[in-house]
Amino acid sequence: MTYTWLVAGALLGAAACDLVLLRTRLLRRRAFWVSYAILFGFQLLVNGVLTGLRVVQYDPATILGLRLAYAPVEDLGFGFALILLTLSCWVALGRRAAGMPARGSAAGPGRAGPGWPAPPPTPPAGRPPSPGSTPSDG
């Protein structure tokens, strides 16, 4: 059960990061859930290979024992927390690079830190990201 509780904590932590700390609110975005649905299939595959071949072996005392494609359900929670945390950081960093206010405040453009490219001039409002457009923050 120990791993189970740690995963529950990680899920709460990642959700807090997304909704409160960085306010990227990916949990409320369709793009995130569609992405996760795609990733979920591959997650089952990768976890299934790792646990099915017993590359990674779990102490039965630390998990619930509920398994999906060989992998303990805890692993899916672990993966979800890792993905949510990373995507939240990715979006928050992009928001800063785009010169958008951090944390949803009206404090003005994000400050460019050391080693970080200066925010580009604000493009015309409403320009949708289109395939083939040059990344503005790399």
Binding site: T2, Y3, L6, T24, R25, L26, R28, R29, R30, A31, F32, V34, S35, I38, L39, F42, V46, V49, L50, L53, R54, V55, V56, Q57, Y58, D59, T62, G79, L82, I83, L85, T86, L87, C89, W90, V91, A92, L93, G94, R95, A97, A98, G99, M100, G104, S105, A106, W116, P117, T122, A125, R127, P128, P129, S130, P131, G132, P135, D137, G138
Partner: protein
């Protein structure tokens, strides 16, 4: 060959998502500084958790499937896991964002005014 199992699995993940960068041109690797910064928290927390879990006996590795290289006290593959999987996740999110411009991911310059309902007008 068996020692390459875990490493090959991770390589497959990177190869499988490479067309998103090369064909769909999501520009994730092109924005490598942002990528590295976004990976850092998951890598640090994940490795710390992994070290703790191995020490506590929550899980262990079958070294017949590992190259034998160690990084920070863990199998190199396990450390790479925290780089490869999150990278694939970012590539996927960016690809979905590219294919569905109506589904904002939150870093678009024209973000809806804070306080407005997130899904308004869609």
């Amino acid at each position: 060959m068996r020692q390459l199992t875990y490493l090959a699995l991770l390589a497959g993940c990177l190869l499988g998502t490479l067309p998103l960068e090369l064909v769909l041109r999501v520009g994730v690797y092109a924005r490598w500084r942002r990528l590295l910064a976004a990976l850092a928290p998951g890598l640090v927390l994940g490795v710390a958790w992994d070290l703790y879990a191995v020490r506590q006996g929550h899980w262990r590795f079958d070294h017949r499937y590992l190259t034998g290289l160690d990084v920070a006290g863990l199998p190199a593959e396990e450390v790479l896991f925290f780089v490869v999987i999150p990278t694939c996740a970012i590539l996927t999110l960016e690809a979905v964002g590219r294919r569905r411009p109506g589904w904002p991911i939150g870093d678009e310059p024209a973000e809806p005014v804070p306080g407005e309902p997130e899904g308004a007008g869609r």
